[in-house]
C-alpha cells in the first residue's frame, strides 16, 4: 500500500467488489495525501466509479478497508463520512433554489442561519455564482449547474472531495475552462480531490497523481510525468498518450542493457533501468514507442537516433499542428504499422506514399513493459 505518512489522508485497499458474477474490482489499493489532486483514470467499466462510490460510502467492498483520516470508515454510512461528492449529472435538488442547494448540508448540521448565509455567499463567490442565490436550478446552464454542485460540496469544508466525471456533460471549450478553474479552486481550498474521468488529457492537465484503472485492476499509480515517461504496462502506454506496442524476444545481452528482437525482425539494444527485471533469454516482453519519439527521414537525409529501421511511408494524416505518419517496417507483418508524429506539414505530401524512408528512435524512448505471451 506504499508508505503511509502523516500526510496520508485516505488509504483504501486491497478492495475487491463483485456484482453478481461480474468482478468489478480486484485488489485495488491506493492512498491519497492531504491536499492532493488524485485522478482515477480509465475507460468505462474499469472500476474507477465503483472505487469512488466505495470511498463515498454508497457501496461496501467485499473485502478491503477504507481508512479516512486514520479512522476506519468502511462500514459507516455516507452521512457519517467527512467526504462530499460532486455527482456526474450534478444531482441538484430541483425543489430548492441555488442558495437552498448550497445550504443543504449546512442546514442538516444545524449550522446557525447567519453562518449558513455567510458561508453560502462565500462558496457561491468561489465558484463565480454570486447573485444567483435565488435562481431556480432548472434555469441554469450546464456549466452553472456544475458550479452549484461544486459550491454545495465545498461549503461544508470536507477534508476530501470526490468528483465523478463532473465535466463529462460540458462541451469541449467549457470543459477546458472548468479544468483550470477546478484545479485553481482545489489549490486555494487545500482540499484533497479524488477525481474520476475517462479523459486522459483531463487527467494529465489537473492531477498531482493519476491512478490508471483497467478491467478492475489498478494498472499504475504515479505522477502524470511518471505515467507518461515510464508506463509499466501496454495498457497504460496506449491509453495515456498512445503508443506503438510491439512484441519482443529477449536475447542474451550485457548487464544493464536489454537486447531484444522486435517482432522477430529488428534487433535493438536499449538501456535497462536498475529496478527492471527481464525474463531470461528466449522470453518475451511487450515494448512501447511513443509516436512523437519516432523520427522519419527521407533516404537522402542524415538521420539522428541510434535505432534505425528501414521503412515505407504508407499513409499520412495532416492534423493541423502536425502529421500522423503510418510506416511499414516489418517484412513479416506488413499490416503492423509503426505510427510516427511529426511537426509541420512536411509529410502531408501524398505523392510520397510508398517511398522508402528511415524511422529512427532513441534507445531510451523504447519502454519495456509487461511480459508477453502468457
Amino acid at each position: 500500500m506504499g508508505a503511509v505518512t502523516a500526510e496520508t489522508l485516505l488509504e483504501v485497499g486491497p478492495l475487491t467488489k463483485s456484482f453478481g458474477a461480474a468482478t468489478i474490482l480486484r485488489d485495488v489499493s491506493l492512498d491519497v495525501r492531504k491536499g492532493e489532486f488524485m485522478t482515477l483514470l480509465g475507460p468505462s467499466g474499469c472500476g474507477k466509479t465503483t472505487t469512488l462510490r466505495i470511498i463515498a460510502g454508497f457501496e461496501t467492498p467485499d473485502s478491503g478497508r477504507v481508512i479516512l483520516g486514520g479512522r476506519d470508515v468502511t462500514d459507516l454510512p455516507p452521512y457519517e463520512r467527512d467526504v462530499h461528492t460532486v455527482f456526474q449529472h450534478y444531482a441538484l435538488f430541483p425543489h430548492l433554489d441555488v442558495a437552498g442547494n448550497a445550504a443543504f448540508g449546512l442546514r442538516l448540521r444545524r449550522v446557525p442561519e447567519a453562518e449558513v448565509s455567510r458561508r453560502v455567499t462565500e462558496a457561491l463567490a468561489l465558484v463565480k455564482l454570486s447573485g444567483f442565490e435565488s435562481r431556480r436550478v432548472s434555469s441554469l446552464s450546464g456549466g452553472q449547474m456544475q458550479r452549484v454542485a461544486l459550491a454545495r460540496a465545498i461549503v461544508g469544508r470536507p477534508s476530501l472531495l470526490l468528483l465523478d466525471e463532473p465535466l463529462g456533460a460540458l462541451d469541449l471549450k467549457l470543459r477546458k475552462e472548468m479544468q483550470l478553474e477546478l484545479k485553481n479552486l482545489q489549490r486555494r481550498l487545500g482540499i484533497a480531490f479524488v477525481y474520476v474521468t475517462h479523459d486522459q488529457e483531463e487527467a494529465m492537465t489537473m492531477s498531482d497523481r493519476i491512478a490508471v484503472f483497467h478491467q478492475g485492476r489498478l494498472e499504475q499509480l504515479g505522477t502524470p510525468g511518471e505515467i507518461y515517461e515510464a508506463p509499466r504496462t501496454s495498457f497504460v502506454a496506449d491509453f495515456i498518450g498512445g503508443a506503438n506496442i510491439f512484441s519482443a524476444e529477449v536475447l542474451p545481452g550485457p548487464a544493464g542493457q536489454a537486447r531484444l528482437r522486435l517482432e522477430g525482425e529488428h534487433e535493438i539494444v536499449v538501456p535497462l533501468d536498475p529496478h527492471e527485471v527481464l525474463p531470461p533469454p528466449g522470453g518475451r516482453v511487450k515494448v512501447a514507442i511513443r509516436p512523437e519519439r519516432v523520427k522519419v527521414f527521407y533516404k537522402d537525409e542524415l538521420p539522428f537516433g541510434a535505432l534505425r529501421f528501414d521503412a515505407t511511408l504508407r499513409d499520412s494524416i495532416f492534423l493541423g499542428d502536425g502529421c500522423q505518419i503510418y510506416l511499414e517496417f516489418l517484412a513479416g507483418a506488413p499490416d503492423k504499422r509503426l505510427v510516427a508524429m511529426a511537426g509541420g506539414d512536411r509529410y502531408a505530401v501524398h505523392d510520397d506514399l510508398g517511398v522508402p524512408v528511415i524511422a529512427a528512435v532513441q534507445p531510451e524512448d523504447v519502454y519495456i513493459l509487461e511480459r508477453d505471451g502468457d
Binding site: Y79, F93, R152, A153
Partner: protein, 288 residues
C-alpha cells in the same frame, strides 16, 4: 395509396391531417359525453311534472332547491367521507407506493397486479363480498365470537366504518398509482446526494423524496377525492339510507323520485365543483 396517406398522417407532416388522429375519440366524447352533458344542463332548468314528466318551463327553481338547508347534512357527510377516504388512502398508500418504488425490486410487477385486483373486480361482487364478511352473521363476527374475543356480534355493516372501508378498498389503487409514478420519477442520485451531504435515511426522505413526490400526492388525492364525491354504490350497499351521500341523492332523483330536472341540477352543481377544483389544481401545478 391509402397506406401512403396513413403514413403521412402518422408522421404528422401536415398538422391539420395529424389532428385526424384525434377524430375518433373526439367524436365519441362529443356524442356520448358532451351532448348528454349539455342535455343535462338544459334539463336542470326544466320543471318536474306531477307524474314525473318533464315540463319545459325554464327557471332556476331546481338550483334554489339544491341550496335548501335540508341538503346541507348530505353535502357535509359527502365531504367528510370523501375527505376521510382520501386521508386514509394517502396514509395507507404512500408507504405502499414507497415500498413498490424503492424496495420491492423484482417483486414489483406482481405486487402492482395484486394492487389492481380490486380495481378489476366488479364493484358489485366486491361489495357483496364485504357484506358477507362484515354482516352480523358474517365471517368476521363469527371468527371473533369463536375465539371469544367478543361476547356479542359487532355492528360493522351499515355503519360509517363500513362505508369508509368500502370507499378506501375501492379507491386505494387510484391513490397508489399516481404516488408510485411520482416516486419512480424521483432521481435516486438526489437521494444519494442528500446522504452524501449528511442526511440520514429519514431526513433524506423528508427533505428530498417527500417534497419531490408532492405532485403525486396531490394527483392521488384528487383521483380519490373526486370520484368519492359522486360515489353512490358504496353507501347504497354498505351504508344504508342513514349514510347516503351526494351520489345517492342524485341517483335517487333519477331512479326513485322521478325528478330528473332536480337530479340534473344537482349533477351540474357537482360537476361545476369538480371542474373548479381541477382548474385550481392545474393552476397550482403550473405555478409549482
Amino acid at each position: 395509396m391509402l397506406e401512403k396517406a396513413l403514413s403521412r398522417l402518422l408522421a404528422g407532416k401536415r398538422p391539420a391531417a395529424s389532428h385526424l388522429l384525434l377524430a375518433p375519440a373526439a367524436l365519441w366524447l362529443l356524442l356520448f359525453l358532451l351532448i348528454p352533458a349539455l342535455g343535462l344542463v338544459a334539463l336542470s332548468f326544466a320543471k318536474n311534472g306531477p307524474y314525473g314528466e318533464i315540463l319545459w318551463r325554464l327557471s332556476l327553481d331546481n338550483y334554489r332547491r339544491a341550496f335548501d338547508p335540508r341538503y346541507v347534512p348530505v353535502l357535509l357527510r359527502t365531504l367528510f367521507f370523501a375527505g376521510g377516504t382520501t386521508v386514509v388512502c394517502l396514509l395507507l398508500g404512500y408507504p405502499l407506493a414507497y415500498f413498490l418504488s424503492f424496495r420491492a425490486g423484482r417483486r414489483r410487477g406482481a405486487l402492482i397486479i395484486a394492487l389492481m385486483v380490486p380495481f378489476w373486480t366488479s364493484a358489485l361482487v366486491a361489495f357483496y363480498s364485504w357484506i358477507v364478511i362484515l354482516g352480523k352473521e358474517g365471517l368476521l363476527n363469527r371468527a371473533l365470537l369463536r375465539y371469544r374475543l367478543i361476547s356479542s356480534p359487532l355492528a360493522l355493516l351499515y355503519t360509517p366504518f363500513s362505508v369508509l372501508l368500502g370507499l378506501v378498498y375501492f379507491y386505494l389503487p387510484f391513490t397508489v398509482l399516481p404516488l408510485y409514478a411520482s416516486l419512480e420519477k424521483v432521481p435516486r442520485s438526489l437521494v444519494e446526494a442528500a446522504y452524501d451531504l449528511g442526511a440520514t435515511r429519514w431526513t433524506a426522505f423528508l427533505k428530498v423524496t417527500l417534497p419531490l413526490s408532492l405532485p403525486g400526492v396531490v394527483a392521488g388525492a384528487l383521483l380519490t377525492f373526486v370520484p368519492c364525491l359522486g360515489d353512490f354504490l358504496t353507501a347504497e350497499l354498505l351504508g344504508g339510507p342513514r349514510y347516503y351521500l351526494l351520489g345517492n341523492l342524485i341517483s335517487n332523483q333519477f331512479l326513485m323520485a322521478q325528478d330528473w330536472p332536480f337530479g340534473a341540477a344537482l349533477t351540474v352543481l357537482l360537476l361545476a365543483g369538480l371542474v373548479a377544483g381541477l382548474w385550481g389544481y392545474r393552476r397550482w401545478e403550473a405555478a409549482a
